[in-house]
Symmetry: none
DNA sequence: TAGACATGTCATAAAATTGTCACAAAAATT
DNA sequence: AATTTTTGTGACAATTTTATGACATGTCTA
């Protein structure tokens, strides 16, 4: 599930530091040091995310962002702006062109990674083609197959999609409506409570494997998928 | 989560109209009618946004804005200017001191709310999503989860909201009525003493972790959430 | 076309949450 | 010390929210 990240930054030391950190964290990187190089690298296969320096020689980062966001094919690529100063104006302008987030230099590697993951999670929740693994639970979107501790689990189509969604969106509460939107699809007219029933079916299916309570009910809010279960005393 | 908005406006009727509209829309309000009052109210917990009248007795709104924007601690608070005339110069001057937006009087409630939301969205796009931490106590609004020293704590919906409010409004006494307004919602008919019961439940839930007395009773006034334990009187 | 699955919706059971009380405890006043 | 005011607590019944089993309908396959 390696994501490819395009790093657009003119100062070599910073760029290298960033790519180092990214690769340490399991991302693939492509580098570009100015507007033109960047433009040239935003081609198929499109990067999964772009880290874009605010100030670039030969055309500002904002200009590039704007251009990418106006193109039909590239506009869905998430962009994170790197800005040297916490200048409010910069932020505003960045957001105006549809940038997804920004990180102010200097930033910690931890923060950078966290932001990137957050954006990816937010932007391309289901795009993964590769198998997902979570606490001994494996889901292969391509083979359309689920196993827990190497034991096969049979799921109906809806339960499969539901589990898929959950496995790509852990540690977060989703309301029944959100689940309907994400798993059933928007503009589908189905009762909220139907979610309960499918949750029940999914729970039942993965029960007996000790993974039953991975799906947690958050009263008044919805459901959450998570490995952690025990509540403190 | 309820945002707190400081309304700085000298004409009482207008001010009251504004606060009414804001509260109708789920915001909490603080009022100030002149420069000094406003200054005095921009203290922790800082308001999430300031609505500032252009003309103020005893020092113009611009002066206040400038002063706030030059202070390290307050400069990140977004400010929306209320101006009586659509004077381009005013706007420019306002923006020069870093004001985030302006609304020209007379304005419709709808417009006001829209502007406020836009500014909040622009300035802190992820603020609602970020986990809050306070003395080893963590509250994650997204996962809908609370932990103390990495140990999970189970809370009912109301207790969760109550704790959330407290963690975003520490070091300050809130009356039972204010808590009802903020946590239960305005125009909800519930006994004052109900707050006591929920305080009790929350205390119980976070007890045993040494965080029990983070919620302090201020006799005759209400409750306060604070890390500091009272020493003298 | 029969049979095996899947799905959405109900009705009902089961749980958890909530607001109030009544009384105890603590603090402030007389 | 007695009284009054304010807050802490445990219990409880009503209400709200979830869990669950059953079922009718629709789909697909053999």
């Amino acid at each position: 599930m390696n994501r490819q990240i395009l790093v657009v930054e003119d100062e070599a030391p910073i760029r290298e530091m960033i790519t180092f950190v990214l690769e340490q964290n399991g991302f693939n990187t492509i580098e570009a040091e100015d507007f033109d190089q960047a433009k040239a690298k935003v081609v198929e296969p499109y990067p999964d995310l772009i880290l874009l320096d605010w100030m670039l020689p030969g055309g500002s980062g904002v200009k590039l962002a704007k251009s990418l966001k106006q193109n039909e094919y590239t506009r869905s690529i998430p962009i994170i702006m790197l800005t040297a100063r916490a200048d409010e104006d910069d932020k505003v302008k960045g957001f105006d062109v549809g940038v997804d987030d920004y990180v102010t230099k200097p930033f910690s590697p931890k923060e950078l990674i966290a932001r990137i993951k957050a954006v990816i999670r937010r932007v391309s929740p289901t795009a993964l083609e590769e198998a997902i693994e979570f606490h001994g639970m494996k889901l292969d979107p391509v083979a359309h197959r689920v196993s827990i501790n190497d034991r096969n689990v049979d799921l109906g189509p809806t339960e499969f999609r539901l589990l898929h969604f959950f496995m790509t969106h852990t540690e977060r509460v989703y309301s029944r409506e959100q689940l309907l939107d994400n798993v059933w699809g928007t503009n589908v007219y189905v009762e909220d409570r139907t979610v309960d029933v499918h949750i029940r079916r999914l729970r039942k299916a993965i029960a007996g494997e000790g993974h039953e309570d991975f799906i947690q009910t958050v009263r008044g809010s919805g459901y959450r998928f998570s490995g952690k279960v025990k509540a403190g005393v």
